[in-house]
Symmetry: C3
Subunit: 400 residues, 3 copies
């Protein structure tokens, strides 16, 4: 037995490298004066097109030994604004707490945010998802759990609210801390079809204490990659705020419907309290017969495997066949309200049509058409408090 232990102790950490390339094109064919002003500062000037990398990452994850792990992934899409994404060390196989990660990681705020950008149905996340959780990851300590029958999974932890993915640390006695959690239930999972049918619901919440540090600001782009963030509450000056989120998924074969609602109540120090919120609902359908897998361990979407790849399929007889990949269509309605009391962050409404063309399990093309409206948005010098816009988005992505 001594000899065996010796072997275990000397085992080396593992390394698994991965990365992704997401290349985007966005065009804004037509819009009214307010969106122009919000984006360019000029009511007569359209939001400029976007061309370039949306994500360009590589990094490494692995196990240190049987009960510890780590991950470092860098975002190289804008080399002049380098940031880390997942960057942590962790413990696994813990009693009660299961897995605990220390470092930069996603906050437990709800489905669309927790879904990987590799699998999400639309190119950009909905208003409230982005606004209440800008850039998604924070430095914190979080537990990840799963029930034995895989029906329940949860994550909860404490976080510094400032986005530290560029400085890497903070020097401050005001931690701007929060405690947040998500409890998720895969209430139906059709084992016999390998997961072609499932239903899920979850509740998420956060108690956040910005305490004058400035992290209580909610802003976001119009679900498209504009230069400016059109919705913006400004810094609220809240002593604390509470977030509550509800979400649900129903998937039957190639068809799925997903919805989420989030609300934030902010207790401001020198002004009346405010309530912001919103949500979205979308339906999606695979024209080519695939289905969107469900990851019961994390309560998030999984990687779709096309029934046949595009465009060459090697056959075992040495010949080649040709395939069309997997085609998915989807429609989303999204709503947000960041205007309350003396805060005029904007009320948004957006309809998105999406087409996803998966060439193979690690590559796809996304096409989005968006028609949106913004109202109750007050900005000094703006020509109006309401407006509308169209947007067209195209993404090419691979991951490895």
């Amino acid at each position: 037995e001594e000899a065996c232990k010796e072997v275990e102790i000397l085992s080396k950490p593992t390394q698994k490298w991965s990365g992704r390339v997401h290349f985007d094109y966005w065009h804004f064919p037509k819009e009214s004066a307010l969106p122009n002003y919000l984006d360019t500062g000029n009511a007569a000037e359209s939001p400029p097109d976007f061309i370039g990398f949306r994500r360009l990452r590589y990094g490494v994850a692995g196990d240190v030994n049987e009960t510890m792990n780590y991950k470092i992934e860098m975002e190289f899409a804008s080399p002049d604004s380098l940031a880390f994404k997942d960057a942590y060390l962790g413990w696994t196989e813990l009693p009660w707490l299961h897995t605990v990660l220390l470092g930069n990681q996603k906050r437990p705020y709800g489905l669309d945010h927790l879904n990987s950008s590799r699998y999400n149905v639309f190119m950009e996340r909905p208003f409230v998802i982005e606004a209440f959780n800008q850039d998604a990851r924070r430095i914190g300590l979080q537990s990840y759990g799963l029930s034995d029958n895989e029906a329940w999974n949860w994550r909860f932890g404490t976080f510094a609210m400032q986005d530290l993915s560029k400085p890497g640390h903070q020097y401050s006695d005001n931690y701007q801390s929060e405690v947040a959690g998500r409890l998720a239930n895969t209430i139906w999972y059709d084992e016999t079809s390998g997961g072609r049918g499932y239903a899920h619901w979850a509740v998420a919440g956060s108690a956040a204490f910005p305490s004058g540090g400035g992290a209580d600001r909610f802003r976001t782009r119009p679900e498209a990659r504009t230069d400016g963030k059109w919705f913006d509450t400004g810094v609220l000056g809240a002593a604390n705020y509470q977030l509550l989120g509800l979400e649900g998924v129903l998937n039957v074969g190639s068809f799925s419907v997903v919805g989420e609602y989030q609300t934030v109540h902010a207790n401001r120090t020198a002004a009346p309290n405010t309530n912001f919120g919103g949500g979205y609902v979308y339906a999606a359908y695979w024209l080519t017969g695939e289905y969107t897998p469900w990851d019961r361990t994390s309560g998030t979407l999984g990687r779709t495997k096309p029934l046949e790849n595009f465009w060459i399929v090697n056959r075992c007889d040495g010949c080649r066949s040709y395939g069309w990949g997997a085609w998915q269509i989807a429609a989303r309605y999204s709503y947000c309200d960041f205007t309350d009391q003396d805060v005029f962050g904007g009320v948004g409404e957006s309809a998105t049509l999406g087409v996803n063309w998966w060439w193979n399990p690690h590559a796809r093309m996304q096409f989005n058409y968006i028609n949106g409206r913004i109202s109750d948005r007050v900005v000094a010098g703006a020509p109006s408090t309401a407006g509308w816009y169209d947007a067209l988005g195209l993404r090419f992505m691979v991951d490895f």
Copy 2:
């Protein structure tokens, strides 16, 4: 057959990691007043020596599946000015278009620029190569083709003219686009000697539309790693410009002669049109009997394999021998003219003597001595419009 397809669909992306370390030393022993002024702003102060990394890269490339690929390579030589180099996703085995890459990649502008810095004969590229194609790579969509007999290869595509390797994207409705291409012909390739003899010619061209965006500026260093760029046309204010390039290679065993010519015609909006151009010719010879391989798939230089490595060679009998590596000598004459009409970017002439000492296929030392002249260069406050300079360069490089 069903089962077989299943296997293919699940195949994982591949990863191949690589990188390079290039360490440079440059010294400027003697020069006249104008080069001093151009580099330091002081006619009496010599260009300072350069010590440090010229290139320090690592990254990953691979196949996503049978018909798609990707690459990300970061340039870490100046961490405070991080940039990506090759960064793309692509499709292979396409009809007509063969390979198509989307993302940051070299423009199809001619031989010396397309040669890898790992294989190029001289430390720095000639005047016109650098000036007409600053920092080489642009975000674009490019096709790469090859004829069945490997005699012809070509690449053509469309690019955003701004160098986006640091921001990673552009927000602009003026794309500053161009279409460019190169058609190359390996007119002679001696198969029987394994490629010790070959001849090549190619034509390259670009139609570029800066349209007031500022990408129509040509500038370059004096073929040495000076702090300043001594040749500079300034922004031309051209609606469009056209580039034409011609190149030829003749290799007979250890001897090769290479030449290239490029010219740019710019149609300026509010000023007379201008013509800039130049070229180079070099001869190189392997004292130790090696030859420079030719890559017929891309029309560029390949990796030289020394007949014996420096300095230890392991023998199969368990003993060690000692080798001297591979030695190559080379001489280059280069000329450029960036002065026309009211633009006084400078006329340059430069003679370079080079020695390349390959220690093994992945490591070499380069030594360059340069004597150059600059004339017709008008800069406010400069002591003269003409001058001369000497430069000594030393490079140590490995790649992996």
Copy 3:
């Protein structure tokens, strides 16, 4: 024989990837007015807590062929202040010079600095170690040698004194060069116990020539991760300075005692010469029976292997046992004097209690409590020239 050589010549470079994650928390429970002022500019405001990554690295090293190697490691802990750490190419198996590395590497300045942060006993290095060798690595050319019986090892080389780990190069005719070396002797090494007993001494020195370039400034934090550097001589204006260091280690089983002394004599151009210096001594003991290995090839601490990992240990019979990892306690006394003549950089004294909890050979937790004093420190506007402080530090680290 020809065929065999051919095989060797074609051998590919090797790649070995590695990295580390160090996550720190620092708290400053109580201190007098001077430390407050030095850190925050306000005598009434405590040094703020630190939360975040201390180190976050990954990179690659390998052999180019039988006689050359390379390494590139990036520090991603502060992505907005990216730097490289080890970054070099090198030659091995050389006569007389053994291994020679060209590029960014640690200067040969003494034990605590040469020890990897993965193995060092305390969270931060002592005053003089940090102050005389800020950020440790410089671009230079250094030889690394080892005697056949492994009793003696040495390293010596020449370096540019400016820290170039962010720009990657320098443009300057004032190289600010130095020559430095370290000669180390493992005077006792108990082979029969596998190295549980050993004694070591070494002498290190540097002749440095800042020559007005500004690299003759010594400053450091108080052995804790404060925002400010509390000890600071300012730029001395020295034509040259000389560093001398002495060090010793005695290890008997689980117990070790280590000490080091360094002194710098600076010849200032327009002011009287100055002498600065200091040292430290620490004792450490493994409560759980382990020992700290010694690396005779480099004269530095090695990686400790816990007798049993924390907290799960897989047994060969398929069952699991539970372990407590390895526990080490340590105490350090450190002293520095950066005040001489008209320079009032500060006199420091610091006592540190440390606990190291190794979970497995690649992961540990460190806890440090520090009580320190600073005197003879003159800063404009400061409330006093002397003060004291407490600090608590916690680190989680893994490497892979």
